[in-house]
Symmetry: C2
Subunit: 211 residues, 2 copies
DNA sequence: GTCTATAGAGTGATAGAC
DNA sequence: GTCTATCACTCTATAGAC
C-alpha cells in the first residue's frame, strides 16, 4: 500500500525521536544480546522501550516475531554500520579483513568481552528450535561472508589462484566467531587476539609469493 | 567424609541402572543441548529422568546448581570420552588434532548438525549471567586446549620453533567452535568441513619445512 | 496506536508425609 | 531418598476502552 499523497513522505528514518516500533526493536536487540532470547521476558522489553504490551502486540504478532524483526534489522544494518565504515578506513582489500576484525575487537573491549557477537549468540540459541529465525541468522552470515569474499576477490593475484575466495571468507567468519566465543567465556580479549593472529599468520603465508 | 568401612566401596560408577542423580544429569545435559539452558524447564528434566521434583532438589539446590553439575560432568568426561579415544586411534601427534576434529564432525552428522557443541552453546548462553557456570565452561575449554597443546608439543620439530603451541591449540578450538556454529546455523556440514580444511591448509604450510 | 486489566498456562522451588 | 501437593511468581498473549 504505497502512500498516494506525494507531500507525505513515508519513512523519514532518522530525524526526531525513534518510533515505537524502533524503540521496541532497539530494546529487544539489546536485551537479547545481554541475556539471550529465552531469558528475556517481554515485560523487560516493554519496560526498556517505555511501552505497554498493547503497543508491542500491535507491531509484532509474538515474541518470536519480535526476534525476526531484530534479525531483519541486523541484516539491514550490516552494510551501513559494519561494512561501509571498514571500506572507508582502507582501500587495501586484504587489510580490510583485518580492519573488520579489529572493529569487532573494539566492540568486545567496549563491553568488557561480556556480550559477544549478536548474531553468533542467537545462532547457537535458536537455530534448532526457531526455524524462521535460523534462516535469518543464515542470511546475516551469508551477507557478511559475501562482503568479505568481495574483498578477497579484489585481492586478485596477491592470493594464490587455487585459493577458494568464498571458502576463505567463511573461514574468516569461523575465526571471528570462535575467537569471540572464547573471549566471552574468559572475559578477556586475549583468546580473540590469538585467533586473529592465527588467521593473520595464515594469510601471511598465503600471500608470501606476493609480487 | 571418606567411607570408613573398606568393604563398602563408594562410587561403583558403571554397573546397574544409573542412579537418580546420574539420570538427572543425563536428562539435563541432553535437554540443555537440545533446547538451551533457559528454554529448558525443570519439569522437562524431571519427566525425562522419570523423577519427581523432591528428588531433584534433594541432589541439587537449584536449576543453576544442576547446570553446574552438568558442566562438572563434561569436565570429567573429556579425557575418557573425547581425548583417550583419539589417542588410541593414531600415534601421530598432528594427525590426532584432525582425528579429534573428525570425531566432532561425526557427532554433527549424527545429529543432522542440529545440536552443535554442548560447551560452546552454553558458553554463549550463560557466560554473562551465570558466573560460576562460566568458570566451569572456561575449565572445559582450558582442559581441551591443554590436551591439544600436548599433542602439538609432541610434534616437536615438525612445527617451527617460533610457533606458540598453546596459542595454536586455542586456535584449533577457535576453528572447531566457529565451524560448528556455522554448521548448526546452516544445518549443513559444509561450513564445518571448510573450516577444518582451512586449518589443515594452515598447518600444512606450518609443517612445510618438515624434515 | 496506545492504554489498562487480566486471562491461562507455566515457572522454579518448598513442605512435609512416608 | 522419593513421593504428593502446592505456593508464589512470571510468562506470553489478548480483550476492549480510549
Amino acid at each position: 500500500m504505497p502512500e498516494t499523497d506525494p507531500s507525505a513522505r513515508p519513512p523519514e528514518p532518522e530525524p526526531g525521536p525513534a518510533s515505537t516500533r524502533e524503540r521496541l526493536l532497539d530494546a529487544a536487540a539489546q536485551l537479547f544480546l545481554e541475556r539471550g532470547y529465552a531469558a528475556t521476558g517481554v515485560a523487560a522489553v516493554l519496560e526498556k522501550a517505555g511501552v505497554r504490551s498493547g503497543s508491542l502486540y500491535h507491531f509484532f504478532r509474538s515474541k518470536e516475531d519480535l526476534l525476526l524483526g531484530v534479525l531483519d534489522r541486523y541484516i539491514e544494518l550490516l552494510h551501513p554500520v559494519i561494512i561501509a565504515p571498514v571500506e572507508a578506513l582502507t582501500d587495501d582489500p586484504i587489510e580490510r579483513v583485518f580492519v573488520l576484525l579489529g572493529r569487532y575487537r573494539e566492540f568486545l573491549l567496549m563491553t568488557d568481552c561480556r556480550l559477544g557477537c549478536p548474531i553468533g549468540n542467537l545462532a547457537l540459541e535458536i537455530s534448532d528450535t526457531h526455524e524462521e529465525a535460523r534462516r535469518k541468522v543464515v542470511q546475516n552470515f551469508e551477507n557478511w561472508c559475501a562482503a568479505v569474499e568481495r574483498w578477497l576477490v579484489d585481492a586478485g593475484k596477491r592470493l594464490p589462484a587455487d585459493v577458494d575466495r568464498a571458502a576463505l571468507a567463511r573461514y574468516v567468519l569461523t575465526v571471528m566467531e570462535g575467537g569471540q566465543m572464547q573471549a566471552k567465556a574468559q572475559k578477556r580479549i586475549e583468546p580473540y587476539d590469538a585467533s586473529v593472529a592465527g588467521l593473520r599468520d595464515h594469510v601471511l603465508r598465503l600471500t608470501a609469493n606476493d609480487e
